[in-house]
Symmetry: C2
Subunit: 401 residues, 2 copies
């Protein structure tokens, strides 16, 4: 398995320590797996202390051996209980904490209370915005990992015509599609930072199941197989002449690619074909105006303007009251990273930022659109997705499963 290079970890730590210093913090305690992996190269059950200056200390509960193997950090030590943290840090001459940063956007209240007991005289502040800001700009090492994820998802999309057939269930298609990625290393570690977003692999909707909204903060919902997880593929049979909408993540070595493609057995009605072409057109118009420094809301505002001019007011990014208010999102160790391409977000999209763009339409007869993953470069956005951006028409005999 590939370990994160030491130089990567050092650069990330350096950038973070500048933020800690700017905020007048003594240091930060990191526990969330995605942040943990970013700053240490391991997700063994651990607590990480990053001081504003000096070497970080990784305190591993389980498995110490793997933590030591996987992380290039110098100080990787054993810990049995969080109570030991102050003692362990004192041994590294880190004492007298006035202000410590915590991931307060994800840390459960009861764990926060534990820290309060362990550090009764310390003030805690939310360090997650600083982490999100640093993580938003990817190194070339990270960009290659995202590119790998999109290489794997491409293989899965290319395999679809080999198993898609009329009469199969959406969930059967999902099982086969997911297996294509799993066997190539989809790690299962797909993550969302937002609380309570029970996101699984992705979303397959066919025909009118694409009209069904759900809890998830995305333009297209899907019925799902059960009300306890009402997302993505369901029990609907796949018919001829309907849009087969496949929007999936692929996580390889921790990094997430995100892509949507449309398939059809037979032919699509002209309105859906036109909507697909218009989605691709909106995407290309967005890409034309994006350059380093473009504020994150601009692509969204442009997309909405174009979609409304095209007559899709009720259909763009969801149907009527169930619309979502973004056109894209950062991708990396999490699916909901910065930048958020939505109204009100002024953050400039800088070189190294990676994001998915997903102009989509929802009609009573189905969902349609496109999604690709990009990295901003000095010369504008570069696509990391390699799958041809077309509707794939599949000819099959009729089966019943």
């Amino acid at each position: 398995m590939d370990f994160t290079p030491k130089s990567e970890i050092e650069t990330r730590t350096y950038n973070f320590q500048k933020k800690l210093t700017d905020q007048g913090l003594d240091g930060a305690i990191i526990v969330l797996n995605s942040d943990m992996f970013y700053f240490t190269g391991t997700v063994q059950n651990s607590f990480l202390y990053i001081p504003a200056g000096g070497e970080p200390v990784l305190m591993v509960k389980k498995s110490l051996r793997r933590g030591q193997e996987e992380s290039p950090l110098k100080n990787v030590v054993s810990l049995k209980s969080p109570k030991e943290i102050p003692g362990i840090l004192a041994a590294f001459n880190y004492t007298g904490f006035d202000k410590i940063g915590l991931e307060l956007d994800v840390l459960p209240f009861n764990i926060y209370k534990t820290y309060k007991k362990i550090f009764p005289n310390t003030e805690f502040s939310d360090i997650s915005p600083a982490i999100k800001e640093i993580r938003a700009v990817k190194s070339s090492y990270e960009i290659e990992l995202i590119r790998n994820a999109l290489g794997v998802i491409d293989k899965a999309f290319l395999a679809v015509p080999s198993f898609l057939h009329e009469g199969m269930l959406e969930i059967e298609l999902a099982a086969l599609f997911e297996a294509e990625m799993r066997k190539r290393g989809y790690s299962g570690g797909r993550k969302m930072r937002a609380f309570n977003q029970d996101f699984f692999f992705g979303n397959i909707c066919t025909g009118n199941s694409g009209f069904c909204p759900n809890f998830f903060d995305g333009p297209v919902g899907g019925l799902g197989v059960t009300v306890s997880h009402p997302q993505g593929a369901g029990w609907k049979r796949i018919n001829r002449n309907e849009a087969i909408y496949i929007d999936y993540t692929c996580v390889i070595q921790g990094y997430t690619g995100d892509q949507t493609r449309i398939f059809c057995i037979g032919e699509l009605n002209p309105r859906m074909v036109k909507a697909f072409e218009d989605a691709v057109l909106i995407e290309s118009e967005i890409l034309k105006v994006m350059k380093p420094g473009t504020p994150a809301e601009e692509p969204y505002l442009l997309a909405v303007k174009l979609a409304e001019e095209m007559g899709y007011k009720d259909n763009f990014m969801g149907y009527k009251e169930d619309k979502v208010k973004f056109i894209g999102h950062g991708i990396g160790l999490e699916l909901d990273e910065w930048p958020i391409l939505a109204k009100g977000f002024k953050t400039p999209i800088m070189p190294g930022m990676t994001f998915a763009l997903e102009p989509k339409f929802v009609f009573p007869e189905g969902a349609i659109g496109t999604e690709n993953s990009f990295v901003m470069t000095e010369n504008g956005p570069e696509s990391l997705s390699i799958t041809p951006e077309v509707i794939t028409y599949v000819k099959t005999n009729s089966f019943t499963s």
Copy 2:
């Protein structure tokens, strides 16, 4: 899709309201999807207020239409922002809150802070122990759902000999095994309540990969395909004469089954065969002594005693320092429910409680053992698992994939 019957929701609410009254709370605000589903029958993006007396109010952000369809609750209303909660509740005559219960074991600190702003004069307390206690005892409706999950996992285990072959990668086996469950409705909603436990479907280890511990709080780890998610199946090729250890969850309609079976291409060495038989023996000894009211720690203490007498001190429930300190865990909407069958847990195991029992051994040459799901009845534990509890020997030609 099957909706949760109204009578189920009413009973659950009634039991919970008794707890709220006992604790002197005005009510509780519920948001976690597993609790939300339990008390409402939906997981649409919502806030649920359950008063100590009176009708609950479900405030749905997205999708209101599905929330109204899926939940049998009387009051299902629209909400755009949590700020509206007090106003909405006032319209139902719920005002003047002194003490409100929250799920403080899972609620992120920043969301807690939002509630503090919305309810500046209200005291908050942790209602999660009360929820866990109620949820631990399943109705016959819930037990049937868990039985369904074990029916699906059985089909996946029975299918293994049709695709397992020498030389395939662990991750290829995982992809095919998971697809068997996905196509039958594995919903993707597998959940752990504990923070930061990035658990995926389950765990396949073969031969010495079963010796590899990891972050996860289970007896067997697995290498995984990447250090960013170092759990379960990895890139190892499957060889003849080694233990193929498959420990998987299956979630059907929200309810979790958990089961482990052992496969082998060729034959296993006598030590591993003996260890398998001893694991089954430990399981049957535990089942003999368990009856309604047995304290949750007793099966664990008995199992450790038996394992040590058998000479497995260093191998039982993990290898040496990486052992876990339980023999089983509650199962239901989450994989880590009550009762916890571990030292120090005195909770009586009562009729209706569902749990997995998993005596397992770890050796340098691999992991072996058994796991089944059970429900406590008036007459003692009844197995919900139906797959024969034997090592399945598979004869195959040698392929390379």
